[in-house]
């Protein structure tokens, strides 16, 4: 059952990821990305990480992708134009992509993956909270400040035109 669900979710994730690149309409690409996020959340759920799974949906599908769609709607981004491969992409990019893919396959098949099963399905929230707010509280707060700085920076950038008047 778990294996079936895993392959189903993995197939959905990969298919949506391919569709994300191939779609020409930006909104369709964004929708595909949401499907990828949802499939990943399902995979986390299979691993017993309920909390991460819910947060994945809330943060990525519920917040970040909404902003993506919002920006696409606001800018009314048109349909992408399809170009022929540039010469650079054809003679350097394609071989490099092929080498990268082959290398990945090689390393993944050689790697004997550990089968460390996830922690029991009980409450994952408490240990996670302990880790975030006690063991790693300094990096956590540092990240928060970093994000705050980014927000302030965005507001400053958006405000600049007002002051010029």
């Amino acid at each position: 059952m778990t294996a079936v669900l895993f392959f189903l979710l993995a197939a959905v994730a990969v298919a949506a990821a391919v569709s994300l690149i191939l779609q020409r309409e930006p909104i369709h690409s964004a929708l595909s990305l949401i499907v990828v996020m949802a499939a990943l959340a399902g995979l986390y759920l299979l691993l017993g990480a309920e909390f991460i799974s819910a947060v994945q949906i809330i943060v990525y599908a519920g917040a970040i992708m909404v902003l993506f769609i919002f920006v696409i709607m606001l800018l009314n981004a048109g349909v992408e134009e399809r170009t022929q491969f540039s010469r650079m992409a054809r003679y350097i990019g394609l071989p490099l992509a092929f080498v990268l893919g082959a290398g990945l396959v090689y390393w993944i098949t050689r790697w004997t993956m550990g089968t460390a099963s996830a922690a029991s399905m009980g409450s994952v929230t408490r240990p996670l909270a302990m880790m975030l707010f006690q063991d790693y509280v300094f990096p956590f707060e540092l990240t928060s400040i970093l994000i705050l700085i980014a927000i302030v920076g965005a507001v400053v950038l958006a405000r600049r035109e007002d002051e010029r008047q």
Binding site: I27, V66, I69
Partner: protein, 408 residues
């Protein structure tokens, strides 16, 4: 066959529960439209629906039939896939969220397996609910975009900005409750509110605990009204400015789906308000000592309501109305008698009190809509970011402080 059902009792019982819940919810949603029209009408000194059936009771049926029979045109130049996807998404998300609402404390036995009165009991119920409801914005935003028309686009943009803004306040406003209960499971949150202070005041989160969650409730309910795009925050469908907002181009069943999604969201939000702040299925009266008679309150309400309906039916003007109201009243009396029976009386308590509280919240929803004028867009954003967000943040800080002081 029954052997098969017992072996797969988890799936079988889930399917049965889903079917029952879907039937009840869809019927309730249909009658919620009747309820809203009636209440708003009486607030505005009108009669509301009166023609179809006695007191307009068959109006939802007629509306449903009309929705199904209507032509369903697809405007030119729309993105067909997204145009069809949007209402489906809105409806699916809204109905999924109802799946984890526990309606009562008792367990029922289905196919030899004891299951609770919720489709699924999750450890992280509240988090799951927020995860699902955070997807609700897509239905609105995509509908606005896919319609290829200016009013829906503006409506979609407005409402997605609104929903994103108020989601923060909504999530923060319940943190106080979660801190006090120490759990994200809806069942645990309700259980943590049992008991009475001074023998008469229930220890519901609204007025008990280390810090009564009055501020939290205020923020929650305001944000929830905005989150469901209801008046006075219904700028997404401000008729005077935007025709119908994001669903201007939709008709027939697709429009009905948006409508049902909106009402389903109202129900979810009311259920959550009941669970988080008003003790869920817990009775407001202690059921011990000389308060034991309150066990018969549900039966009394049903029987009295049924008798009232029969009396009204006997005086009704049309013969069909006379018949229907009397039969309905008799059914209600019968249900009342059933809830007073010894084998059902304890089982009936939880769902009765839960649904009563939810109905009260739905009434407040309609009441607010009938009373308050719509906010301006800048006022809406100011309330969300400058009032609700700081207040709910302060609520988190104060609740944590109160908890620390209490646990010292």
């Amino acid at each position: 066959m029954s052997d098969f059902l017992i072996r797969h009792s988890l799936i079988a019982s889930s399917v049965v529960k889903i079917a029952v819940l879907l039937f009840m919810v869809l019927t309730a949603l249909a009658y919620l439209t009747w309820f809203e029209r009636k209440v708003v009408a009486h607030i505005q000194s009108r009669w509301g629906p009166y023609r179809v059936g006695p007191h307009g009771l068959l109006q939802p049926l007629a509306d449903g039939l009309k929705f199904i029979m209507k032509e369903d045109p697809m405007p030119a130049g729309v993105d067909k896939f997204v145009f069809v996807l949007a209402p489906l998404l809105a409806m699916t998300v809204a109905l999924t969220a109802l799946g984890i609402i526990p309606f009562g404390p008792q367990e029922i036995e289905l196919f030899g397996r004891k299951t609770s009165l919720a489709i699924v009991d999750l450890n992280l119920g509240l988090l799951f609910l927020f995860a699902i409801s955070s997807l609700g914005v897509y239905g609105v935003a995509l509908a606005g975009w896919a319609s290829n028309s200016k009013y829906p686009l503006l409506g979609g943009l407005r409402s997605s900005a609104q929903m994103v803004s108020y989601e923060l306040a909504l999530t923060l406003s319940v943190v106080g409750v979660v801190l006090m209960a120490g759990s994200l499971s809806l069942r645990d949150i309700i259980q943590s509110q049992s008991g009475w202070s001074w023998h008469f005041l229930p220890r519901w989160n609204l007025f008990a605990g280390p810090l009564p969650q009055v501020l939290g409730f205020f923020c929650y309910f305001t944000a929830a009204i905005a989150e469901t795009n209801r008046a006075p925050f219904d700028l997404a469908e401000a008729e005077q400015e935007l025709v119908g907002g994001f669903h201007t181009e939709y008709s027939s069943m697709k429009f009905a789906m948006f409508f049902m999604a909106e009402y389903a969201n109202m129900v979810t939000v009311s259920c959550l308000a009941t669970i988080l702040f008003f003790g869920g299925w817990l009775s407001p009266c202690p059921v011990t000592g000389h308060w034991i008679w309150t066990l018969y309150l549900p039966a009394a309400v049903f029987v009295l309501g049924g008798l009232g309906l029969i009396w009204d039916g006997l005086h009704y003007t049309t013969p069909i109305g006379k018949f229907e109201l009397t039969v309905l009243g008799a059914v209600l009396v019968g249900v009342g008698g059933l809830t007073a029976a010894p084998f059902a009386i304890h089982f009936a308590q939880g769902p009765f009190w839960f649904l009563t509280k939810v109905l009260a919240f739905l009434f407040v929803y309609v009441w607010v809509r009938g009373t308050l004028p719509r906010f301006r867009y800048d006022q809406l954003m100011a309330i969300g970011w400058k009032l609700l967000l700081p207040v709910s943040l302060a609520n988190v800080v104060f609740t944590s402080l109160a908890l620390v002081v209490k646990n010292k």
